[in-house]
Amino acid sequence: MCSISFKMNVINFLEESKKRHPTKVALVDEEKSLTFQELYQEVQSFSTSIAFLNKKNIISLMSENSVSFIISYLGIINAGKIVHLISPEISEINLSNQLKSSDSEAIICSNTVKKNLSKFVSIKIPFFEFEDIRSQSTQDKKNIKTNNLAYLIYTSGTTSEPKGVAISHVMIEFTTKNIIKVLGYSDLDVDVLPLPLYHSFGLGCFHTSLYVGSTLVLLKNANNLEHILQSLEKNNATTLAIIPATLTKLLKLDRSVLENYFTNIRLIITNSTPIPKNTVQNFKEILKNGHLATYYGLTEASRSTFMIFEKNNEREESVGRVAPEIEIKIVSKDNDNLGMGEIWIKGNNVIKKYWNNTEADKNIVDRWLQTGDIGYFDKENYLFLKGRNDDIINIGGEKIVPREIEEVVMQIAGVEEVAAFGIKHEIFGQVIKLNVVKAKDSDLDKFVILTHCLKNLEKFKVPSKIDFVESIPKTDYGKVKRFMLK
């Protein structure tokens, strides 16, 4: 077991909040709620109930958002083990690969997940529903140890095979304090979270609520707009964490209705998937008493920048400035790139190595994480993302960032979604292909898209092939999986 080298771990967050607010509601889900005192007791009980899982350091957790998820997550950590977080939607082959890589002892899961797991013939380790664990006899806590790693996530990957990323308590404490410092979370907040807890974004929101002692409202479905809005009203929410695509969908609702729902909201936080400029501009107006904010980060380097969209700042496409005590530099091999290059990050939020993956470890040099993301800083040190290194399209030596094409195509009426990517070409090496999702009932044709591109892009950036498709493959957070398109 590793030595303790951190000041606080996640369990300390709970202990401190329990001391300050024992009877305050800590968690609410669609079925029940728990105070901090009740949560603490449930976590202690859970830790001792899993004492029979004593052969390995890692236990997997696979569930939709719920109070039981949180109890299990904290209970596993409190038992001195590392939580391997898995999406309930994972395929059997990916699950099998992750379990092999993580060397997990067992899976703890929701009832729904358990039913699915029982169909996966390749899964050889035991799996237990939450209630199975609760029914175990509680054992002596004296053998419980501590671990400097809290959880393990396999990144969903926008470009390649998933990589294991283990997050330490030091990293969690550092990132949580940065979130609080920049975004001003406090125990007065009521935080609505419709995003999955098995990802870094959602989990970071939970850590923040636990640290400050606010109430966290967990929702299972990020696509149920009506339910999200009702939840804001019902719980007197002050913050909402949401992905940009959902924000954009909300704009289709009546404006005055939206403004009413968001009257008490002081903060909407989104992740760094591109937010349409129009969406940012609209929410600047809708939030009468609050702000829209975003951040840039990876699971490997959570919350590396923050951007609060102020009314007098027109950088709607920026992901903001570097977070406290983190360094970011732009590294370029070309001299003619006008400050654009790969984003490298260094700080206490960055992993030291990947999980049993020496090939991936090559992306970390002298504690600098080479993110593979392309971006640049403006004169006032605001960071702008332009895409990923692997996504760059090279047409006869001209290098093109797909996002630039996508932004132009999205201006066309009738385009719901678009993804640009390179395809092989005998003369140019690569040319640009677009996959376009048309809006419902749109009669948009390819010629309109091409002529719009000719008018708004340099000629080498005009797509050579267009397909109309039903959907574009994306990660849970809305990032296009370009490697699946090529």
């Binding site: 047409i395 006869g396 005998e426 003369i427 140019f428 040319v431 044709d445 390819k446 010629f447 091409l450 002529t451 000719l454 008018k455 000629k459 080498f460 005009v462 797509p463 050579s464 092939k465 267009i466």
Partner: protein, 88 residues
């Protein structure tokens, strides 16, 4: 196909191709356009403009030109010939 249909198609093809030239070469005026004017006589008909021309022609006529056809096209007339051969 009647002669009238053939002639009507011919006019339509020509209109479309001419419009494609005006889309690709934004500064091209009516007076500068000629069916037999060759690539070398255009200031900005480079390999990327060639690619744009082919893409727009393929999109508008719903045809796919071979690599050889794409390379050999050197004038509006040759594009018209190519379209005719694909749509006949």
């Amino acid at each position: 196909m009647t002669l009238a249909t053939i002639l009507s198609n011919e006019v339509e093809y020509k209109n479309i191709i001419k419009n494609i030239f005006f889309e690709v070469f934004a500064n091209l005026s009516e007076a500068d356009f000629a069916w037999n004017k060759e690539q070398k006589d255009y200031n900005n008909w480079d390999s990327f403009a060639q690619l744009n021309l082919i893409t727009l022609v393929e999109s508008k006529f719903d045809i796919t030109l071979s690599l050889e056809e794409s390379i050999n096209i050197k004038s509006a007339n040759e594009i018209l010939e190519c379209v005719r051969s694909h749509l006949k």
